[in-house]
Subunit: 213 residues, 2 copies
Amino acid sequence: MLKIYAMQSSGNCYKVRLLLSKLGVPFELIDVDLLRGENRTPDFLMKNPEGRVPLLELPGGRYLPESNAILFYLAEGTHLLPGAPLERAEVLRWMFFEQHSHEPNIGAARFWLKLVRGGRELRTHDIDRWMEEGYAALGVMERHLARRPFFVDGGLTIADIALYAHTHAAAEGDFDLGGFPSVRAWLARVAALPGHVGMDWRPEPRNQLVNMA
Amino acid sequence: MLKIYAMQSSGNCYKVRLLLSKLGVPFELIDVDLLRGENRTPDFLMKNPEGRVPLLELPGGRYLPESNAILFYLAEGTHLLPGAPLERAEVLRWMFFEQHSHEPNIGAARFWLKLVRGGRELRTHDIDRWMEEGYAALGVMERHLARRPFFVDGGLTIADIALYAHTHAAAEGDFDLGGFPSVRAWLARVAALPGHVGMDWRPEPRNQLVNMA
């Protein structure tokens, strides 16, 4: 069975749970709490020298980090990743946008302002930049979604899943989605589709921790 | 013929020229100078509302932005993008790393410190962060490359091309590669392979600007 090393409150980790729920693929979830340094233990650093989650462990003991690379790997051959080269490239276009222009601002703001105790004081000098660049990213999404239901023509893809994860929780990073009606309508469309789960969702107990001591 | 809208001195744009040189694919190069605002004209914003380069124009008038999505699209079916799902995902893993952890620091430092007149004064408050996070990214690359010749087993891929573009010019952003011998050896390996071109390379004149007024 697939193993996912993840922190429950991380938006990047939520992407992977949301995809696997939509695909109905069972997996074992192994909690790694970054806020308690569980990603810096020798055991975890053997698995991923960068100490980041999510991390996918495949049968045979190979590991794949980077949330969007994990999404691409797991969605291959499913309806959530188109087969045509240009549509695949458009999916990737939005996933690179997410990692370059969106998550470093909207995800980072939520992480430091909501999840890290004292984070607002620690990162005061970054807040203006997160707001400026995060709202710019939301503006790009708003213009794109004003004319289409999902990021890539043809229906929901992993581009939507990648962007949904941090966008739906943007308010926890002090972002106000009031001025982004197309983004809000898209969030509602994504959440209404089959297999949707919230960030607190975990797989059934029988699917988790079964191999843990 | 493929059209590439690009700025010659941009690392993200260089990635695309380097790939097309290696593949021997002819293309038309159309200069867009960000420093003169040529990416903010109504005509260019019709092509890419985000005003970014590189931008790929395909026959039929479709456009694809995001350098790494362009690389993935153009490399599909070639020896520079493996066919096996896990190897493809590993290529993407490093390309997401490049856009999330590498280019926003190493590329941004070069852009503001080398290319933009007065950029050092404008972005003084960002330099410490670029240095800290950029050296961390170089450390990740150094550890990975200490045990393998290229980022993904099997030879050169678009992951190497994506990471080469900004890394080979890191000194122009004040980074010192002296402490990263495996990174330097990898840079030399990449540059020694067939079809390699430097950042100043342009395609033959017959392949460029033929449709420009």
